[in-house]
Amino acid sequence: MELFRRAANPWNQEVLIGVSWDLMWAAVIAGIAFMVAHALLVMGKTKRLAEPAAEAAGIPEKIERHSMGARAFHWLMAVAMFALLVTAFVPVIGLQFPWVTIHWVAGVALIATIVYHVFHSILKEDFWSMWTRSVDVKRGMMLLKNVFTRSDAEDPKTGKYGVDHQLYHHAVMVLTVAAIVTGVLMMFRIDTPFWERNPYLLSDGAWGIVYVVHGLSGVALITMVMTHVYFAIRPEKLWLTRSMIFGFIDRSHYLEHFDPEHWKVGSGAGEALEAPSGGALAETAAQSPHESV
């Protein structure tokens, strides 16, 4: 399988012009393989419900997991991402339509949502909940152990986002940023309202890298999106998916899956939410030793 597409430039020098579209199929296959593997591993695994914990006291019936803003961002981003992937890859498989404009407009929309997300998550949300700490990693390992040993042991409780969520987020972040940066450069090779076309903005070699990076992040995002959707529709995760629609999870899920120490809600919640992120970190750090006992 060819990894890259090459061509001879007008001076007959070989230049990279992009990734081989075989990689698109590789990405799809990888996605499917992951889903199948995971489905088999977790098949028939019955989960014991944890007894209502004593701490239940003072925990509201419904707990806000995703603010309106966060949800709006997520779904707008999702729309943009789907538009980008469809316009990018459907023509490759032979279904022709005028995709270029939709593609770059969706790209610009994606950038807008991400800019919003960055500020919103830093200023309004609990930024640090996405921060991967050693404890998150430990819990991640336990989770993996459970999955692979198909053990019935209770999955470890996590902060607002488990390490699996966090790593997924980081990976998508990296890929998306790569695709965006290269995509913006590529907009110099087409007609947009923003600037004059200039295909010679970069050297042939640099353009080659730009196209390859854009292509690689593009195909990788196919796999990421596939797995994301897969989890979103798995029965045991639907409550999470719902929370991305309605914003709330109910107390039982909270108590079952989350460690109140690390995702404070109810009485402590306000404080946790309003506390400057620095404070939040200090707090969690202070707790970690006791945690590891």
Binding site: A8, V15, P98, V100, R189, E196, N198, Y211
Partner: protein, 333 residues
């Protein structure tokens, strides 16, 4: 690998004698097969060694693809009918003279004796960056050399561009659009009929093709309905040389004129976009107007509303404007 632009690289040649065999062969060899009509566009590609099909399907021996016959009040012209035969055919001259006129404007007598109507509408663009074998968008690459800030693009497009700014070079295409012609296509899934104006596609839809013809498809005939039979026609091709030259801008118009008033109109322009453009908004404007210079000017301005010049082809705006103006007004002011 060094480059040389001489000698045709070897290929396997098939000379089917029926449309069925031809379509079968195309199906069998898919993208590796090249359809050879008159060959005047193909041989450039072959001799420049830029396109190297493994299999060439020469339609020369398929008799059913030749000839002009009456059909439903209009005419059906076999795709392999030579441009000379189109130009000289009495019915074409008497009823659809704009098509004879267009055919006469193609290249040279030798080329018209061999070049076919099907080949003329299906020919590839003449963008010299693309024709130089450079890896541009149209060639499957990721760049348009012709739209660079200092590129040499006097012969490129002023509208309808999408990444690629090449233009369609066909002289007969605008005439066929003006005549509401229909293209009959034989494909793997059988026959389909496409309106001339939809037969030509822009790079937005598929940057590697000029028409809806996909690998495996065969353009078998072109039908001219009687709609515009003996209408008032206007055809003008502006070029640098009066023989063997492609159009800078070409206008083709079919008008129904009562007295001095335009009843209905079809106006198509080529050389301004990646595909021949039918100017429906200008047609709408022209309906019910008298054929005079004022309306001509208006129509011209309307025609170039959406046009945008590249570095070296600003003149095409004036040219398109003036040619549309003439189509409405007539040659004399």
């Amino acid at each position: 690998m060094a480059t040389i632009r001489d000698m045709i690289a070897p290929f396997e040649l098939f000379q089917p004698t029926s449309i069925g065999d031809a379509v079968a062969l195309l199906g069998e060899h898919g993208a590796d097969a090249w359809v050879l009509a008159g060959g005047l566009d193909s041989f450039d590609w072959f001799k420049d060694r830029i396109k190297r099909p493994g299999v060439v399907v020469d339609l020369g021996a398929v008799e059913e693809l030749r000839g002009i016959r009456a059909s439903g009040g209009g005419l059906e012209i076999g795709a392999m009918t030579t441009l000379t035969d189109v130009e000289l055919h009495p019915d074409v001259r008497a009823r659809f003279s704009i098509l004879a006129d267009a055919a006469r404007h193609v290249a040279t007598p030798q080329i018209r004796n061999q070049g076919t109507l099907g080949g003329n509408v299906a020919q590839d663009t003449r963008c010299w960056y693309y024709r130089s074998g450079w890896p541009c968008y149209r060639a499957g690459g990721n760049i348009c050399y012709a739209s660079a800030p200092k590129a040499m693009n006097r012969e490129h497009c002023i509208m309808g561009a999408s990444r690629c700014v090449a233009v369609n070079p066909s002289d007969t295409a605008p005439a066929l659009i003006a005549l509401d012609a229909q293209m009959v296509i034989q494909g793997p899934e059988g026959e389909r009929v496409v309106e001339a104006k939809d037969f030509f596609i822009g790079p937005g839809i598929d940057i590697t093709r000029m028409t809806v013809l996909e690998p495996g498809d065969l353009l078998t005939a072109i039908r001219i309905p009687d709609t515009w039979s003996e209408a008032t026609f206007y055809y003008e091709k502006v070029r640098d040389r009066n023989s063997w030259d492609f159009s800078l801008v070409t206008v083709a118009a079919a008008l129904r004129v009562e007295g001095a008033t335009i009843g209905d109109a079809r106006i198509a322009v080529n050389g301004v976009a990646p595909h021949p453009v039918r100017l429906q908004h200008v047609e709408a404007y022209a309906r019910g107007k008298t054929r005079d210079d004022d309306n001509g000017r208006q129509a011209g301005e309307l025609a170039i509303q959406k046009a945008r010049a590249l570095r070296h082809n600003d003149y095409k705006l004036s040219l398109m404007k003036n040619l549309v103006r003439r189509a409405i007004r007539g040659m004399e002011a």
